[in-house]
């Protein structure tokens, strides 16, 4: 007597042979499922990259305080004392205008442009890290700083990051909805594929039932078929997204060179990749399961 494992291995190799026996059909099935999965996967990859960029360039909320151009050294000290005494401030940093210019020159690669300037156009500034990072606390600080003498501008630097975060959240919902719609399509595709397969194998199903095959025995190769189609479709989607990223990154590299910052999109990590493949395989299995449930019952002569 052979074990459960051998029975599964036989069903699996039988399914592989069946797929290899009709290579064109198999290829088209995989291509359809791959394309359907590549769309949400690709969008997800883009979103993840954008989110990474956002986090990289907006580490923590801070308030930038710029003094008026005519502020004197005493004004600077006056402001510094007020910031030091303020309860809502966790820490702060004074950025004199000369240092700001130097930073701009070395860090942002604008040396050529700045060399043409006769005067330093930048104001003295303070970078303040607030004690509380929530939006209302930041807003309160900004309002208060603005009323101080010789303060020209107050910026809350996390504003754009928060807006991007909101946009990304909307994007994530869109990807989720797209994924749900295409997951449904994938289930429908495997459902139909398995239905056709059951029709072509109806003689075999009938005979095996007559000579004592259990439902599990009959179902097994179809479930493997669905799982394999789904899984390889997922793999195809992964490869498609990878290919798209290669092309995209070549274009981005040119752009990145122009701006002097490193820009490259990264593919799904190992965990996300594994989840994508597993999910695709599961969808294939589920479509096959539904189909088998629906169509095999019709074959029992009893």
């Amino acid at each position: 007597m052979m074990g459960w494992f051998t029975a599964h291995r036989m069903a699996f190799t039988g399914t592989l042979n069946r797929l290899a026996g009709a290579p064109l059909t198999t290829l088209f099935n995989i291509a359809v499922i791959g394309t359907a999965l590549a769309l949400p996967t690709g969008f997800y990859v883009l979103l993840t990259n954008l989110q990474g960029l956002a986090q990289q360039y907006a580490p923590e909320p801070q308030v930038s305080l710029f003094l008026a151009a005519e502020a004197a050294a005493t004004d600077v000290r006056n402001i510094e004392d007020r910031i030091k005494a303020h309860a809502g401030v966790a820490s702060f940093r004074y950025v004199p205008r000369a240092q700001a210019l130097e930073t701009l020159r070395t860090r942002a690669g604008l040396a050529d442009l700045l060399a043409g300037l006769a005067l330093n156009p930048l104001p003295d500034g303070f970078v303040v890290i607030p004690a509380a990072g929530n939006a209302s606390a930041l807003e309160a600080l900004r309002g208060e700083f603005k009323t101080w003498p010789k303060v020209a501008e107050v910026h809350v630097d996390s504003d754009w990051a928060r807006r991007l975060d909101n946009l990304l959240a909307i994007g994530r919902y869109a990807v989720l909805m797209l994924a749900a719609a295409l997951a449904f399509a994938l289930i429908a595709i495997t459902f139909n594929t398995i239905r056709l397969q059951i029709l072509t194998q109806r003689d075999e199903i009938e005979v095996t039932k007559l000579i004592g095959a259990t439902d599990a025995y009959i179902r097994r190769p179809f479930l493997y078929l669905g799982t394999l189609i789904g899984g390889t479709g997922g793999l195809a989607a992964w490869v498609m997204v990878w290919g798209a990223l290669q092309i995209f990154n070549r274009q981005l590299a040119a752009l990145a060179e122009l701006y002097g910052i490193p820009l490259a999109l990264t593919h799904l990590g190992a965990t996300d990749s594994a989840y994508t493949l597993l999910f695709a395989a599961w969808l294939g299995w589920f479509g096959a399961w539904l189909s088998v449930r629906r169509h095999l019952i019709a074959y029992d002569p009893l």
Binding site: M1, V207, T208, L210, I211, G212, T214
Partner: protein, 219 residues
């Protein structure tokens, strides 16, 4: 020991056709029984009821003490493994070799592959088809296909062989060969239930004969 018992069995098909009416019979283990009668008399229906391919409309069918009519669907495959079925239309699978056709019942039961291959070759040898194990069934003659069907029916060594017109459209020589095969199985203790109107075969094997006439047992 009684192998198969039918008591008061009737079968009415949807549409109102009465295939069998009030049939009662006993078939003992190791017996050879021929069910004879005209086409449409109900021979095939009787076999189908025994093999749990049909359920009786009324009455009970007992096989090895199990009531076929009330068996749970999950139990049916295991009941059917007691039988070797020989079909009039063979029901061979044309997408695989002769050898793989004979392997099928063993795969279903879950035999070890090597032992299964050994048994499949032994079964093919018994019906004289060992030379053709790699052939496709479609290339076999009618008599060879019938013998292949028999090899598939006996490969898992069933206790009961149910055969529907196994010599149906064969030459006398082939029919005689199949008769000898059946006798050989019967001699090793296999219960044989055979639906046929081949009287020559009946004369050779001298079985217990049950005649069906218009859905009832004659005599």
């Amino acid at each position: 020991m009684t192998h198969i018992t039918l008591s008061g069995v009737s079968k009415r098909y949807p549409g109102g056709h009465d295939a069998l009416t009030g049939v009662s019979l006993n078939i003992a283990a190791g017996e050879m029984v021929f069910i004879t009668g005209h086409s449409g008399a109900g021979k095939s229906t009787l076999l189908k009821l025994i093999a749990a391919i049909e359920r009786p409309t009324s009455g009970t069918v007992l096989v090895n003490g199990q009531n076929v009519g009330t068996l749970r669907p999950r139990g049916i495959p295991f009941l059917r493994r007691n039988f070797g079925l020989v079909f009039q239309d063979h029901k061979l699978l044309f997408d695989r070799s002769v050898f793989d056709n004979v392997m099928l019942p063993l795969d279903i039961i879950g035999f070890d592959r090597r032992e299964a291959a050994r048994r499949a070759r032994a079964a093919l040898d018994k019906v004289g088809l060992l030379q053709k194990e790699k052939a496709q069934p479609i290339t076999l003659s009618g008599g060879e296909q019938q013998r292949l069907c028999i090899a598939r029916a006996i490969v898992h060594r069933p206790a009961i062989l149910l055969a529907d017109e196994p010599t149906g459209n064969l030459d006398a020589d082939y029919a005689a060969a199949i008769g000898d095969l059946l006798r050989a199985f019967n001699q090793v203790g296999v219960t044989i239930v055979l639906a046929t109107h081949d009287l020559q075969l009946a004369a050779r094997l001298n079985p217990h004969i049950i005649e069906v006439r218009a859905g009832r047992l004659a005599s």
